[in-house]
Symmetry: C2
Subunit: 243 residues, 2 copies
Protein backbone atom coordinates (compact mmCIF):
# COMPACT_ATOMS: atom_id res chain seq x y z
CA UNK A 1 0.00 0.00 0.00
CA UNK A 2 1.40 3.38 -0.99
CA UNK A 3 0.45 6.98 -0.31
CA UNK A 4 -3.04 8.44 -0.51
CA UNK A 5 -2.49 10.52 -3.68
CA UNK A 6 -1.67 7.58 -5.85
CA UNK A 7 -4.44 6.33 -8.12
CA UNK A 8 -4.75 2.71 -9.04
CA UNK A 9 -4.17 1.57 -12.63
CA UNK A 10 -7.12 0.61 -14.80
CA UNK A 11 -7.35 -3.12 -15.12
CA UNK A 12 -10.01 -5.03 -17.02
CA UNK A 13 -10.99 -8.30 -15.44
CA UNK A 14 -12.17 -11.18 -17.57
CA UNK A 15 -13.00 -14.84 -17.16
CA UNK A 16 -12.12 -17.60 -19.59
CA UNK A 17 -13.64 -21.06 -19.58
CA UNK A 18 -12.02 -24.38 -20.36
CA UNK A 19 -14.95 -26.75 -20.85
CA UNK A 20 -13.91 -30.33 -21.47
CA UNK A 21 -16.02 -33.28 -22.42
CA UNK A 22 -15.69 -36.68 -23.98
CA UNK A 23 -17.18 -37.16 -27.43
CA UNK A 24 -16.54 -40.12 -29.68
CA UNK A 25 -13.94 -41.34 -27.19
CA UNK A 26 -11.88 -38.20 -27.64
CA UNK A 27 -11.27 -35.35 -25.28
CA UNK A 28 -12.93 -32.27 -26.72
CA UNK A 29 -13.11 -28.62 -25.78
CA UNK A 30 -15.72 -25.95 -26.31
CA UNK A 31 -14.53 -23.06 -28.49
CA UNK A 32 -16.28 -20.00 -29.90
CA UNK A 33 -15.63 -17.97 -33.00
CA UNK A 34 -14.96 -14.39 -32.00
CA UNK A 35 -17.47 -11.90 -33.41
CA UNK A 36 -15.53 -8.72 -32.64
CA UNK A 37 -12.01 -7.39 -32.82
CA UNK A 38 -9.38 -8.19 -31.78
CA UNK A 39 -8.91 -11.64 -33.30
CA UNK A 40 -12.30 -11.34 -35.02
CA UNK A 41 -13.18 -14.66 -36.64
CA UNK A 42 -10.56 -16.59 -34.71
CA UNK A 43 -11.35 -19.42 -32.34
CA UNK A 44 -11.18 -18.65 -28.64
CA UNK A 45 -12.24 -19.92 -25.26
CA UNK A 46 -15.71 -18.86 -24.13
CA UNK A 47 -15.45 -15.96 -21.74
CA UNK A 48 -15.70 -12.23 -21.32
CA UNK A 49 -15.40 -9.27 -19.06
CA UNK A 50 -16.79 -8.93 -15.60
CA UNK A 51 -20.12 -7.21 -16.10
CA UNK A 52 -20.39 -5.08 -12.99
CA UNK A 53 -18.53 -4.39 -9.79
CA UNK A 54 -20.60 -6.65 -7.63
CA UNK A 55 -20.42 -9.70 -9.87
CA UNK A 56 -18.31 -12.47 -8.42
CA UNK A 57 -15.78 -14.17 -10.67
CA UNK A 58 -17.56 -17.48 -10.48
CA UNK A 59 -20.87 -15.81 -11.27
CA UNK A 60 -19.33 -14.19 -14.33
CA UNK A 61 -18.04 -17.57 -15.41
CA UNK A 62 -21.48 -19.10 -15.03
CA UNK A 63 -23.08 -16.23 -16.92
CA UNK A 64 -20.68 -16.53 -19.85
CA UNK A 65 -21.22 -20.25 -19.93
CA UNK A 66 -24.97 -19.92 -20.32
CA UNK A 67 -24.74 -16.95 -22.70
CA UNK A 68 -22.13 -18.31 -25.03
CA UNK A 69 -22.72 -22.01 -24.84
CA UNK A 70 -26.31 -22.32 -23.64
CA UNK A 71 -25.19 -24.87 -21.09
CA UNK A 72 -27.15 -25.69 -17.98
CA UNK A 73 -24.95 -24.29 -15.25
CA UNK A 74 -26.27 -26.52 -12.49
CA UNK A 75 -24.77 -29.66 -14.00
CA UNK A 76 -21.22 -28.34 -14.06
CA UNK A 77 -18.68 -27.65 -11.38
CA UNK A 78 -16.28 -24.87 -12.22
CA UNK A 79 -12.83 -25.03 -10.73
CA UNK A 80 -10.26 -22.28 -10.58
CA UNK A 81 -7.52 -22.98 -13.09
CA UNK A 82 -5.19 -20.00 -13.11
CA UNK A 83 -4.63 -16.33 -13.78
CA UNK A 84 -3.33 -14.99 -17.06
CA UNK A 85 -2.44 -11.36 -16.73
CA UNK A 86 0.73 -10.48 -18.57
CA UNK A 87 0.79 -6.95 -19.95
CA UNK A 88 0.38 -7.09 -23.72
CA UNK A 89 -1.68 -10.25 -23.90
CA UNK A 90 -4.66 -8.20 -25.09
CA UNK A 91 -4.29 -5.17 -27.42
CA UNK A 92 -7.27 -3.43 -25.77
CA UNK A 93 -5.31 -2.71 -22.63
CA UNK A 94 -4.44 -4.39 -19.39
CA UNK A 95 -6.68 -7.42 -19.23
CA UNK A 96 -6.28 -9.91 -16.44
CA UNK A 97 -8.16 -13.12 -17.07
CA UNK A 98 -9.15 -15.70 -14.51
CA UNK A 99 -9.53 -19.14 -16.07
CA UNK A 100 -11.99 -21.76 -14.87
CA UNK A 101 -12.10 -25.44 -15.71
CA UNK A 102 -15.19 -27.60 -16.03
CA UNK A 103 -15.60 -31.22 -16.99
CA UNK A 104 -18.84 -32.72 -18.12
CA UNK A 105 -20.24 -36.11 -19.07
CA UNK A 106 -22.15 -35.03 -22.10
CA UNK A 107 -22.96 -31.66 -23.52
CA UNK A 108 -25.29 -30.74 -26.34
CA UNK A 109 -24.36 -29.41 -29.72
CA UNK A 110 -24.41 -25.62 -29.79
CA UNK A 111 -27.95 -24.37 -30.34
CA UNK A 112 -28.64 -22.44 -33.52
CA UNK A 113 -30.29 -19.07 -33.11
CA UNK A 114 -28.68 -18.23 -29.80
CA UNK A 115 -25.51 -16.52 -28.70
CA UNK A 116 -24.05 -20.00 -28.70
CA UNK A 117 -24.63 -20.51 -32.42
CA UNK A 118 -20.96 -19.96 -33.13
CA UNK A 119 -19.78 -22.34 -30.44
CA UNK A 120 -18.32 -25.67 -31.43
CA UNK A 121 -16.54 -28.70 -30.02
CA UNK A 122 -13.01 -29.39 -31.13
CA UNK A 123 -10.62 -32.20 -30.30
CA UNK A 124 -8.11 -31.07 -27.71
CA UNK A 125 -5.31 -32.73 -29.69
CA UNK A 126 -5.85 -30.35 -32.58
CA UNK A 127 -5.48 -27.35 -30.29
CA UNK A 128 -2.44 -28.60 -28.44
CA UNK A 129 -0.67 -29.64 -31.62
CA UNK A 130 -1.11 -26.16 -33.04
CA UNK A 131 -3.26 -27.39 -35.91
CA UNK A 132 -5.97 -25.04 -34.66
CA UNK A 133 -4.92 -21.49 -33.84
CA UNK A 134 -6.50 -19.83 -30.83
CA UNK A 135 -6.82 -16.13 -29.99
CA UNK A 136 -4.74 -14.43 -27.30
CA UNK A 137 -2.80 -16.86 -25.07
CA UNK A 138 -5.69 -19.32 -25.04
CA UNK A 139 -3.68 -22.28 -26.26
CA UNK A 140 -1.54 -22.02 -23.15
CA UNK A 141 -4.68 -21.93 -21.00
CA UNK A 142 -6.00 -25.03 -22.73
CA UNK A 143 -2.74 -26.85 -22.11
CA UNK A 144 -2.89 -25.98 -18.42
CA UNK A 145 -6.49 -27.12 -18.21
CA UNK A 146 -5.83 -30.46 -19.87
CA UNK A 147 -2.87 -31.17 -17.63
CA UNK A 148 -5.01 -30.32 -14.62
CA UNK A 149 -7.68 -32.75 -15.80
CA UNK A 150 -5.10 -35.50 -16.22
CA UNK A 151 -3.80 -35.05 -12.71
CA UNK A 152 -7.30 -34.82 -11.26
CA UNK A 153 -8.21 -38.10 -12.88
CA UNK A 154 -5.55 -39.78 -10.77
CA UNK A 155 -6.53 -38.50 -7.39
CA UNK A 156 -10.24 -37.83 -7.63
CA UNK A 157 -13.36 -39.57 -8.81
CA UNK A 158 -13.56 -37.06 -11.64
CA UNK A 159 -13.65 -39.75 -14.30
CA UNK A 160 -17.20 -40.69 -13.37
CA UNK A 161 -18.20 -37.11 -14.20
CA UNK A 162 -17.32 -37.82 -17.82
CA UNK A 163 -19.77 -40.71 -17.88
CA UNK A 164 -23.52 -40.70 -17.69
CA UNK A 165 -25.46 -41.55 -14.51
CA UNK A 166 -24.67 -45.25 -15.01
CA UNK A 167 -21.78 -46.76 -16.88
CA UNK A 168 -19.81 -49.95 -17.36
CA UNK A 169 -16.25 -50.41 -16.20
CA UNK A 170 -15.18 -50.38 -19.83
CA UNK A 171 -16.85 -46.98 -20.25
CA UNK A 172 -14.84 -45.72 -17.34
CA UNK A 173 -11.66 -47.17 -18.76
CA UNK A 174 -12.28 -45.33 -22.02
CA UNK A 175 -12.39 -42.07 -20.08
CA UNK A 176 -8.96 -42.71 -18.62
CA UNK A 177 -7.59 -43.78 -21.98
CA UNK A 178 -8.96 -40.71 -23.75
CA UNK A 179 -7.79 -38.16 -21.20
CA UNK A 180 -4.42 -39.75 -20.53
CA UNK A 181 -3.92 -40.63 -24.18
CA UNK A 182 -2.74 -44.18 -23.45
CA UNK A 183 -4.04 -47.76 -23.46
CA UNK A 184 -4.73 -49.67 -20.25
CA UNK A 185 -5.04 -53.38 -19.53
CA UNK A 186 -8.80 -53.99 -19.09
CA UNK A 187 -8.30 -56.85 -16.60
CA UNK A 188 -6.06 -54.91 -14.30
CA UNK A 189 -8.19 -51.79 -14.67
CA UNK A 190 -11.23 -53.80 -13.69
CA UNK A 191 -9.66 -55.04 -10.46
CA UNK A 192 -8.12 -51.72 -9.59
CA UNK A 193 -11.29 -49.71 -9.92
CA UNK A 194 -13.34 -52.34 -8.09
CA UNK A 195 -11.10 -52.40 -5.08
CA UNK A 196 -10.78 -48.64 -4.76
CA UNK A 197 -13.40 -48.40 -2.08
CA UNK A 198 -16.23 -45.95 -2.67
CA UNK A 199 -15.18 -45.05 -6.19
CA UNK A 200 -18.00 -46.85 -7.97
CA UNK A 201 -20.99 -48.82 -6.71
CA UNK A 202 -23.09 -51.39 -8.55
CA UNK A 203 -26.26 -50.05 -10.12
CA UNK A 204 -27.84 -53.50 -10.19
CA UNK A 205 -28.55 -53.86 -13.86
CA UNK A 206 -26.69 -54.74 -17.01
CA UNK A 207 -26.16 -53.32 -20.44
CA UNK A 208 -26.08 -55.49 -23.53
CA UNK A 209 -23.49 -54.68 -26.13
CA UNK A 210 -23.72 -55.49 -29.83
CA UNK A 211 -21.89 -58.69 -29.19
CA UNK A 212 -20.42 -60.38 -26.17
CA UNK A 213 -21.36 -60.81 -22.55
CA UNK A 214 -23.47 -58.01 -21.03
CA UNK A 215 -21.60 -55.73 -18.66
CA UNK A 216 -22.72 -54.77 -15.19
CA UNK A 217 -23.69 -51.16 -14.71
CA UNK A 218 -22.24 -48.95 -12.02
CA UNK A 219 -22.78 -45.47 -10.72
CA UNK A 220 -20.47 -42.97 -9.03
CA UNK A 221 -19.71 -43.84 -5.42
CA UNK A 222 -19.52 -41.50 -2.43
CA UNK A 223 -15.74 -41.13 -2.44
CA UNK A 224 -14.43 -37.99 -4.12
CA UNK A 225 -10.75 -38.35 -3.23
CA UNK A 226 -9.27 -41.65 -4.27
CA UNK A 227 -7.03 -43.70 -2.06
CA UNK A 228 -5.10 -45.43 -3.40
CA UNK A 229 -4.96 -43.15 -6.43
CA UNK A 230 -5.24 -44.35 -10.00
CA UNK A 231 -1.66 -44.10 -11.18
CA UNK A 232 -0.89 -42.89 -14.66
CA UNK A 233 1.68 -45.27 -16.17
CA UNK A 234 3.30 -42.49 -18.17
CA UNK A 235 4.90 -41.23 -14.98
CA UNK A 236 7.09 -44.30 -14.86
CA UNK A 237 8.93 -43.26 -17.97
CA UNK A 238 8.87 -39.53 -17.33
CA UNK A 239 12.38 -38.25 -16.77
CA UNK A 240 11.52 -34.58 -16.99
CA UNK A 241 13.31 -32.13 -14.81
CA UNK A 242 11.54 -28.88 -14.18
CA UNK A 243 10.70 -26.45 -11.39
Amino acid sequence: MTDEQWTPPVVLLAVDLVILTLRESRLQILLVERGIEPYKGALALPGGFLQHSEESLIAAAHRELSEEADIDVATLTLEHLGVYGDPGRDPRGRVVSVAYLAIAPWLPEPTAGTDAANAEWQAVDRVLSGELELAFDHRRIVADGVERARVKLEHSALATAFCGPTFTITDLQEVYEAVWGIRLDPRNFYRKVQKTDGFIVAAGSERKSATGRPARLFKAGPRKVLYPPMVRPTELSTQKEQQ
Copy 2:
Protein backbone atom coordinates in the same frame (compact mmCIF):
# COMPACT_ATOMS: atom_id res chain seq x y z
CA MET B 1 -18.57 -9.29 -24.74
CA THR B 2 -21.54 -6.93 -24.79
CA ASP B 3 -22.35 -3.77 -26.72
CA GLU B 4 -20.02 -0.88 -27.33
CA GLN B 5 -21.68 1.56 -24.90
CA TRP B 6 -21.08 -0.61 -21.87
CA THR B 7 -18.18 0.43 -19.67
CA PRO B 8 -16.25 -2.07 -17.65
CA PRO B 9 -16.45 -2.02 -13.85
CA VAL B 10 -13.60 -0.63 -11.79
CA VAL B 11 -11.57 -3.40 -10.26
CA LEU B 12 -8.52 -2.99 -8.06
CA LEU B 13 -5.91 -5.65 -8.57
CA ALA B 14 -3.66 -6.69 -5.71
CA VAL B 15 -1.09 -9.34 -4.95
CA ASP B 16 -0.72 -11.21 -1.67
CA LEU B 17 2.29 -13.25 -0.65
CA VAL B 18 2.46 -16.46 1.32
CA ILE B 19 6.10 -16.76 2.35
CA LEU B 20 6.90 -19.96 4.22
CA THR B 21 10.07 -20.97 5.96
CA LEU B 22 11.27 -23.37 8.58
CA ARG B 23 12.44 -21.89 11.85
CA GLU B 24 13.08 -23.86 15.00
CA SER B 25 11.67 -26.96 13.31
CA ARG B 26 8.32 -25.27 12.82
CA LEU B 27 6.66 -24.06 9.69
CA GLN B 28 6.46 -20.29 9.87
CA ILE B 29 4.92 -17.58 7.75
CA LEU B 30 5.81 -13.95 7.16
CA LEU B 31 3.14 -11.51 8.32
CA VAL B 32 3.01 -7.73 8.49
CA GLU B 33 1.14 -5.40 10.78
CA ARG B 34 -1.11 -3.18 8.72
CA GLY B 35 -0.32 0.52 9.01
CA ILE B 36 -3.47 1.88 7.40
CA GLU B 37 -7.18 1.27 7.41
CA PRO B 38 -8.94 -1.03 6.91
CA TYR B 39 -7.81 -3.53 9.52
CA LYS B 40 -5.20 -1.06 10.76
CA GLY B 41 -2.99 -2.78 13.31
CA ALA B 42 -4.10 -6.26 12.35
CA LEU B 43 -1.78 -8.92 10.99
CA ALA B 44 -1.94 -9.58 7.28
CA LEU B 45 -0.05 -11.15 4.43
CA PRO B 46 2.52 -8.96 2.74
CA GLY B 47 1.13 -7.52 -0.46
CA GLY B 48 -0.47 -4.55 -2.12
CA PHE B 49 -1.98 -3.06 -5.21
CA LEU B 50 -0.63 -3.24 -8.70
CA GLN B 51 1.34 -0.02 -9.10
CA HIS B 52 0.81 0.80 -12.75
CA SER B 53 -0.84 -0.64 -15.83
CA GLU B 54 2.30 -2.12 -17.28
CA GLU B 55 3.44 -3.92 -14.15
CA SER B 56 3.12 -7.68 -14.40
CA LEU B 57 1.59 -9.55 -11.51
CA ILE B 58 4.77 -11.40 -10.74
CA ALA B 59 6.72 -8.13 -10.82
CA ALA B 60 4.30 -6.61 -8.35
CA ALA B 61 4.77 -9.61 -6.10
CA HIS B 62 8.54 -9.25 -6.25
CA ARG B 63 8.30 -5.54 -5.54
CA GLU B 64 6.08 -6.00 -2.50
CA LEU B 65 8.38 -8.70 -1.24
CA SER B 66 11.41 -6.45 -1.28
CA GLU B 67 9.52 -3.39 -0.01
CA GLU B 68 7.70 -5.02 2.85
CA ALA B 69 10.06 -7.77 3.87
CA ASP B 70 13.43 -6.62 2.55
CA ILE B 71 13.97 -10.06 1.09
CA ASP B 72 16.37 -10.75 -1.73
CA VAL B 73 14.06 -11.61 -4.55
CA ALA B 74 16.58 -13.66 -6.51
CA THR B 75 16.72 -16.40 -3.90
CA LEU B 76 12.99 -17.10 -4.01
CA THR B 77 10.74 -18.69 -6.57
CA LEU B 78 7.21 -17.39 -6.51
CA GLU B 79 4.45 -19.72 -7.59
CA HIS B 80 0.88 -18.83 -8.42
CA LEU B 81 -1.39 -19.94 -5.62
CA GLY B 82 -4.88 -18.69 -6.39
CA VAL B 83 -7.24 -15.80 -6.91
CA TYR B 84 -9.36 -14.30 -4.19
CA GLY B 85 -11.89 -11.91 -5.59
CA ASP B 86 -15.24 -12.20 -3.87
CA PRO B 87 -17.17 -8.94 -3.72
CA GLY B 88 -17.12 -7.62 -0.18
CA ARG B 89 -13.78 -9.08 0.87
CA ASP B 90 -12.34 -5.56 1.03
CA PRO B 91 -14.38 -2.55 2.24
CA ARG B 92 -12.53 -0.20 -0.13
CA GLY B 93 -14.25 -1.63 -3.17
CA ARG B 94 -13.89 -4.47 -5.56
CA VAL B 95 -10.44 -5.85 -4.91
CA VAL B 96 -9.26 -8.96 -6.69
CA SER B 97 -6.13 -10.40 -5.19
CA VAL B 98 -3.74 -12.82 -6.82
CA ALA B 99 -1.86 -14.88 -4.25
CA TYR B 100 1.68 -16.16 -4.69
CA LEU B 101 3.52 -18.79 -2.71
CA ALA B 102 7.22 -18.90 -1.92
CA ILE B 103 9.23 -21.30 0.16
CA ALA B 104 12.66 -20.56 1.47
CA PRO B 105 15.43 -22.31 3.41
CA TRP B 106 16.23 -19.50 5.74
CA LEU B 107 15.15 -15.92 5.87
CA PRO B 108 16.45 -13.06 8.02
CA GLU B 109 14.63 -11.33 10.80
CA PRO B 110 12.80 -8.25 9.60
CA THR B 111 15.16 -5.31 9.42
CA ALA B 112 14.46 -2.38 11.72
CA GLY B 113 14.27 1.05 10.07
CA THR B 114 12.82 -0.17 6.81
CA ASP B 115 9.35 -0.73 5.44
CA ALA B 116 9.80 -4.24 6.73
CA ALA B 117 10.18 -3.13 10.34
CA ASN B 118 6.69 -4.30 11.15
CA ALA B 119 7.12 -7.69 9.50
CA GLU B 120 7.40 -10.76 11.66
CA TRP B 121 7.50 -14.54 11.49
CA GLN B 122 4.67 -16.48 13.04
CA ALA B 123 4.05 -20.20 13.40
CA VAL B 124 1.59 -21.38 10.79
CA ASP B 125 -0.22 -23.45 13.43
CA ARG B 126 -1.21 -20.33 15.30
CA VAL B 127 -2.76 -18.85 12.18
CA LEU B 128 -4.60 -21.96 11.09
CA SER B 129 -5.94 -22.65 14.56
CA GLY B 130 -7.41 -19.16 14.71
CA GLU B 131 -5.24 -18.16 17.64
CA LEU B 132 -3.92 -15.34 15.47
CA GLU B 133 -6.49 -13.26 13.61
CA LEU B 134 -5.63 -12.12 10.11
CA ALA B 135 -7.08 -9.27 8.07
CA PHE B 136 -9.44 -9.83 5.12
CA ASP B 137 -9.69 -13.45 4.00
CA HIS B 138 -5.99 -14.01 4.56
CA ARG B 139 -6.39 -17.00 6.84
CA ARG B 140 -8.04 -18.86 4.01
CA ILE B 141 -5.17 -17.93 1.71
CA VAL B 142 -2.66 -19.21 4.26
CA ALA B 143 -4.54 -22.49 4.53
CA ASP B 144 -4.46 -22.92 0.76
CA GLY B 145 -0.74 -22.12 0.66
CA VAL B 146 0.15 -24.60 3.39
CA GLU B 147 -1.84 -27.35 1.73
CA ARG B 148 -0.07 -26.58 -1.53
CA ALA B 149 3.30 -26.83 0.20
CA ARG B 150 2.34 -30.20 1.70
CA VAL B 151 1.40 -31.60 -1.67
CA LYS B 152 4.50 -30.18 -3.33
CA LEU B 153 6.66 -31.87 -0.74
CA GLU B 154 5.39 -35.22 -1.97
CA HIS B 155 6.03 -34.80 -5.65
CA SER B 156 8.92 -32.39 -5.87
CA ALA B 157 12.33 -31.93 -4.36
CA LEU B 158 11.00 -28.85 -2.59
CA ALA B 159 12.05 -30.11 0.83
CA THR B 160 15.70 -29.49 0.05
CA ALA B 161 14.80 -25.83 -0.49
CA PHE B 162 13.94 -25.60 3.20
CA CYS B 163 17.44 -26.77 4.12
CA GLY B 164 20.74 -25.03 3.73
CA PRO B 165 23.22 -25.87 0.95
CA THR B 166 24.18 -29.08 2.75
CA PHE B 167 22.12 -31.09 5.19
CA THR B 168 21.83 -34.46 6.86
CA ILE B 169 19.06 -36.91 6.15
CA THR B 170 17.70 -36.21 9.59
CA ASP B 171 17.53 -32.50 8.71
CA LEU B 172 15.51 -33.40 5.66
CA GLN B 173 13.25 -35.62 7.70
CA GLU B 174 12.54 -32.76 10.06
CA VAL B 175 11.36 -30.69 7.12
CA TYR B 176 8.82 -33.34 6.18
CA GLU B 177 7.73 -33.73 9.78
CA ALA B 178 7.29 -29.99 10.27
CA VAL B 179 5.36 -29.35 7.08
CA TRP B 180 3.24 -32.48 7.22
CA GLY B 181 2.79 -32.22 10.96
CA ILE B 182 3.48 -35.91 11.60
CA ARG B 183 6.31 -38.18 12.79
CA LEU B 184 8.15 -40.47 10.39
CA ASP B 185 10.25 -43.58 11.00
CA PRO B 186 13.86 -42.44 10.55
CA ARG B 187 15.05 -45.81 9.24
CA ASN B 188 12.43 -46.08 6.53
CA PHE B 189 12.82 -42.41 5.68
CA TYR B 190 16.54 -42.93 5.28
CA ARG B 191 16.10 -45.77 2.82
CA LYS B 192 13.32 -44.08 0.91
CA VAL B 193 15.14 -40.82 0.35
CA GLN B 194 18.36 -42.59 -0.60
CA LYS B 195 16.76 -44.71 -3.26
CA THR B 196 14.79 -41.90 -4.85
CA ASP B 197 17.29 -41.34 -7.59
CA GLY B 198 18.56 -37.79 -8.06
CA PHE B 199 16.79 -36.38 -5.01
CA ILE B 200 19.90 -35.90 -2.89
CA VAL B 201 23.59 -36.48 -3.58
CA ALA B 202 26.42 -36.99 -1.09
CA ALA B 203 28.38 -33.85 -0.26
CA GLY B 204 31.35 -35.90 0.89
CA SER B 205 31.72 -34.64 4.43
CA GLU B 206 30.11 -35.22 7.80
CA ARG B 207 28.58 -33.19 10.55
CA LYS B 208 29.14 -34.03 14.18
CA SER B 209 26.20 -33.72 16.51
CA ALA B 210 26.35 -33.08 20.23
CA THR B 211 26.29 -36.79 20.81
CA GLY B 212 26.12 -39.85 18.62
CA ARG B 213 27.58 -40.95 15.35
CA PRO B 214 28.33 -38.14 12.85
CA ALA B 215 25.92 -37.91 9.97
CA ARG B 216 26.87 -37.73 6.31
CA LEU B 217 26.10 -34.48 4.57
CA PHE B 218 24.13 -34.27 1.35
CA LYS B 219 23.12 -31.59 -1.09
CA ALA B 220 20.14 -31.23 -3.40
CA GLY B 221 20.29 -33.50 -6.43
CA PRO B 222 19.40 -32.69 -10.04
CA ARG B 223 15.90 -34.14 -9.93
CA LYS B 224 13.10 -31.67 -9.30
CA VAL B 225 10.15 -33.99 -9.86
CA LEU B 226 10.29 -37.06 -7.65
CA TYR B 227 9.51 -40.51 -8.88
CA PRO B 228 8.52 -42.42 -6.92
CA PRO B 229 6.98 -39.65 -4.85
CA MET B 230 7.38 -39.30 -1.11
CA VAL B 231 4.00 -40.46 0.09
CA ARG B 232 2.34 -38.70 2.97
CA PRO B 233 0.79 -41.28 5.30
CA THR B 234 -2.97 -41.09 5.26
CA GLU B 235 -5.45 -42.27 7.82
CA LEU B 236 -6.71 -44.49 5.02
CA SER B 237 -3.34 -46.15 4.53
CA THR B 238 -3.24 -47.79 7.96
CA GLN B 239 -2.27 -51.42 7.79
CA LYS B 240 -5.26 -53.71 7.83
CA GLU B 241 -5.33 -56.46 10.41
CA GLN B 242 -5.83 -60.05 9.37
CA GLN B 243 -9.36 -61.03 8.51
